[in-house]
């Protein structure tokens, strides 16, 4: 094996026709439904007196827990935008103001905007995630690129 080549986007990526039929469509529909149901339950959980034991909160967590197992069993992959809205420890569907707090910190002395860091922290106090937001404001996830499908 030689040296590992750098992954560059110089390779020709040209948009072609999307495939006509999706394989494993049933499982994708199921995960989609479970994700939607978990958001509905998380939003309908009582916000005035938030108990950790309210039923809607527990149900939304268990739906996400189910969703993760369906993905593992059916060998399909979730898109990163969905993964980022879910707590990895307590399986909560993260909604800012209800479950999680979102903040931008800057620990550099000069407070240069390059060093801005976005942190999402769950209410369970076990999960915290940092995104270096200042480095590239125009950053796109790889899946969100327009030209994705490769030429044969």
């Amino acid at each position: 094996m030689g040296k590992a080549t750098k992954h560059t986007l110089d390779v020709q990526w040209i948009c072609t026709k999307p495939p006509g039929s999706v394989s494993l469509k049933d499982h994708y529909i199921r995960t989609n439904y479970l994700y939607q149901a978990s958001t509905l339950m998380a939003l309908s959980a009582s916000s005035d007196s938030p108990d950790s034991n309210s039923l809607n909160d527990l149900l939304s967590r268990s739906y996400v827990h189910n969703m993760n197992w369906v993905v593992k069993k059916a060998l399909i992959k979730l898109s990163p935008t969905i993964k980022r809205t879910v707590c990895k420890k307590c399986n909560r569907r993260l909604i800012s103001g209800k479950n999680c707090s979102v903040e931008v910190t800057n620990t550099s002395n000069l407070k240069t905007p390059v060093n801005d860091i976005l942190t999402v922290s769950c209410i369970c106090q076990k999960f915290k995630k940092n995104y270096p937001i200042g480095k590239n404001l125009n950053y796109k996830i790889f899946a969100h690129n327009d030209n994705l499908l490769p030429v044969k």
Binding site: L40, S52, N66, K73, I95, G97, S101, E103, N106
Partner: protein
């Protein structure tokens, strides 16, 4: 994509900020109670986690701190580690079930006291309670809160079974005359149903070993390995014979005709093993252009109109077509479904050697 949904929540008097303010920094006053960390530029939707958890948990923790027993603290640490989503749901269910039993006892005393008053007057007892105003009833989960989940489930199952073409519009059939169900392959539907998700389905229990759960209808909230967790409506009569002891029709507005358990409603656990379930998939849309729940008092008058399209050889049930209501009827056999819902994704059901196929 590092964009944010800003302006969603204001907490403790701090106004939400747009994403452009991120680089300015230091826009807030220094005396803000939330902005304790000096490195924080801005913050959205902050919740104090200590306020989030209930007071009972905090008091337990304080009590545990006072005890300096090492063994005791280790026990608690182990128990806290086991606080999964699964275990916490189980804990919640046992608490609410015991709470429901307390409420049943409360109703029992109310009924007894009112009955004495009517006996003095030598009249038949009559009463209509406002259940939600009785203290303690707010804790019991209600059936009506989960109707939106059932609407979502119906749109899911129609998308999964791929029966959009058979849907009728404006109360009339899509095609002239009857629907051609010859093209619809039921065995394909059953294979899809074996890997479907039943959270949010409105199920009716046809048969079970436990007599108290026969003819229950409710929305499935969660599917365990061997049980369905259902939310059951208040004041729902389970049996069709609405005749009293004297042969007259039962007065449904009188609370004395219900048992205490029917009045309370709430959560029920129904065992899968040895029980059969039924659910409908409607082919009609509502006035609001939505798939609504069928009427709860599912009448059994139209049994004669039912046509059995495929009966034998079904993996987990038989399919009927309900002519009068324009909906598909499915019957699940619970003892076949005795698996975890996530384990059913790649499971293939076999047709041979079925002992329980008696619908």
């Amino acid at each position: 994509m590092h964009t944010l949904q800003t302006g969603s929540v204001e907490s403790n008097g701090v106004s939400s900020s747009s994403s452009n303010d991120a680089n300015d920094g230091g826009k807030y006053n220094e005396n803000d109670p939330i902005k304790k960390n000096k490195y924080v530029n801005w913050r959205v939707g902050y919740i104090n986690p200590e306020a989030f958890y209930s007071k009972e948990d905090q008091s337990e923790e304080k009590a545990n701190k006072n005890r300096n027993n090492k063994q005791y603290s280790e026990k608690i640490q182990k128990a806290q580690r086991r606080n999964n989503t699964r275990t916490m749901l189980r804990k919640y269910i046992t608490e609410t079930m015991s709470h429901q039993r307390k409420m049943e006892k409360k109703l029992k005393t109310i009924k007894r006291n009112t009955k004495k008053k009517y006996e003095k007057k030598k009249m038949q007892p009559k009463m209509q309670l406002e259940l939600n105003k009785i203290p303690g009833f707010n804790k019991i989960p209600k059936f009506e809160d989960y109707l939106n989940l059932n609407k979502m489930w119906l749109s899911y199952i129609i998308e999964l079974l791929n029966i959009d073409k058979y849907l009728s519009t404006d109360g009339k059939m899509a095609k002239d005359g009857e629907i051609d169900f010859k093209n619809l392959k039921f065995q394909n539907l059953l294979a899809k149903l074996s890997s479907a998700d039943f959270n949010g389905c409105l199920l009716e229990v046809l048969k079970s070993n436990n007599k108290s759960s026969i003819n229950l209808t409710g929305i499935v909230l969660y599917e365990f390995k061997s049980h369905f967790l259902m939310a059951v409506p208040q004041r729902f009569k389970r049996f069709d014979n609405l005749e009293g002891e004297s042969g007259e029709e039962m007065d449904l507005e009188n609370d004395f005709n219900y048992t205490n358990r029917e009045l309370v409603g709430g959560l029920r656990l129904v065992e899968k093993n040895g029980s059969t379930f039924r659910f409908y998939v409607p082919l009609n849309k509502d006035e609001n252009n939505e798939f609504s729940v069928l009427s709860l008092g599912l009448d059994n008058e139209d049994v004669s109109d039912r046509e059995e399209t495929s009966q034998e050889g079904a993996t987990e049930g038989a399919v009927h077509y309900h002519q009068s209501r324009e909906c598909l009827e499915f019957v699940l056999i619970g003892s076949r479904l005795n698996l975890r819902s996530s384990d059913r994704t790649n499971k293939k059901f076999k047709n041979h050697a079925i002992d329980d196929l008696v619908v």
